[in-house]
Symmetry: C2
Subunit: 199 residues, 2 copies
DNA sequence: ATATCATGTAAGTTAGCACTTACATTCTAC
DNA sequence: GTAGAATGTAAGTGCTAACTTACATGATAT
């Protein structure tokens, strides 16, 4: 009864399906029977791999929590202009969170139920990315290219604009009559931010 | 058995308690028995006021959905400097969403379950506030005080910074070792935005 | 070829939850 | 002070969901 995916283990199929259903229906709304059916396995097979729904949820969270995919971008950026660098950072940031949309959905809907676990993951990601961006700003301030401003608040402001954009359009499915595409939005946001921070 | 609140009707007590529990535990996680107990009434009284849990949820959403509290601010702002005006708008925006924190929590966790209803409310609020702010920017551009930029994207960028700040600190309970207070954050965000948009 | 292991089928157990029934009690208006 | 409305108590119904039991089947390794 192997599904289309060639060599995906049963365990992986369960985790992947659970991620999808938890993000769509929430922890309580996703039934183990449904997860099993969707994964193309018997319900008891799910319980042979994971002792409880709770443990399955934890494994989903641990398996799909983000790896900060921004660190390796920083060397490439060193030679770019400030505008170009910020544009690349914004693009990469949006790509990263878009690819983890399901996880972000889960984190938003289950944070009250599993505060410790989710806080930990969220903070690890956020701290990492704030730190990287803030240190870039500090470096650019040293080189007298940027005005003096609080680098960490600058990072929060910059990423905040894009996180809200993502939240609005990808989570809240905000469709505006006048459609403005992603690249134009990035360009305008970057322009405003550059104008406010460059000397 | 009247609780501390002097003249609060049974119906209001139920709605208020339901808002709180739905926001804390989600729609499925909040049992009608628990809502009743917390509200200090019998479970059947809840069902005498609301024919089903589903209808109770709808009533909660309708009752506590935001009234855009920004419109009346705009006249006051006319005479202020650009910086001062943006600071006031940011403060009022944060106050408004903070006071509706429970509703925002519910909207984030139940949007997949009740897309139509929640989209409608969310969009009504967002559209209103974007429109007001964008028209302020357009006016200021006409007066040659601001650079030329897309006013609606400017509104998204500005409010996006603050929405992310709210989301991070009030929803995700982000506590940073180096605590930066709200006013300092507002000030820095406004400074950056002003720098990027003022001529 | 046979033991082992992962998986399947089918049925069942248990507990919690939305919602109901029947009747008793309290409050309020007139 | 009594009728009628609002609320309470207590028990129960029916359903669904997590998780189990018991047994059968198919592949793989030796």
């Amino acid at each position: 009864m192997g599904r289309s995916n060639g060599t995906q283990s049963t365990r992986d199929k369960i985790l992947e399906t659970a991620l999808k259903l938890f993000s769509q229906k929430g922890y309580l709304g996703a039934a183990t029977k449904e997860i099993a059916k969707e994964a193309g396995i018997a319900e008891i097979t799910l319980f042979r791999h994971f002792p409880s729904k709770e443990k399955l949820f934890e494994e989903v969270i641990n398996t799909y929590s983000f790896l900060p995919a921004l660190k390796e971008l920083m060397p490439e950026i060193a030679g770019m202009s400030y505008e170009k660098a910020l544009t690349e950072i914004a693009k990469r940031f949006l790509e990263t969170i878009s690819s983890r949309k399901d996880m972000i959905q889960i984190m938003h809907s289950e944070i009250q139920r599993y505060p410790e676990k989710i806080h930990k993951i969220y903070h690890a990601f956020i701290d990492e990315i704030f730190k990287i961006l803030a240190s870039y700003f500090k470096e650019m301030q040293k080189r007298k290219i940027l005005k003096s401003f609080d680098a960490e608040l600058g990072a929060k402001a910059f990423l905040g604009m894009f996180f809200s954009y993502f939240n609005l359009h990808e989570i809240m499915m905000y469709k505006k009559y006048r459609h403005v595409d992603k690249d134009a939005t990035i360009k305008e946001f970057v322009k405003i931010f550059v104008g406010g921070t460059k000397k």
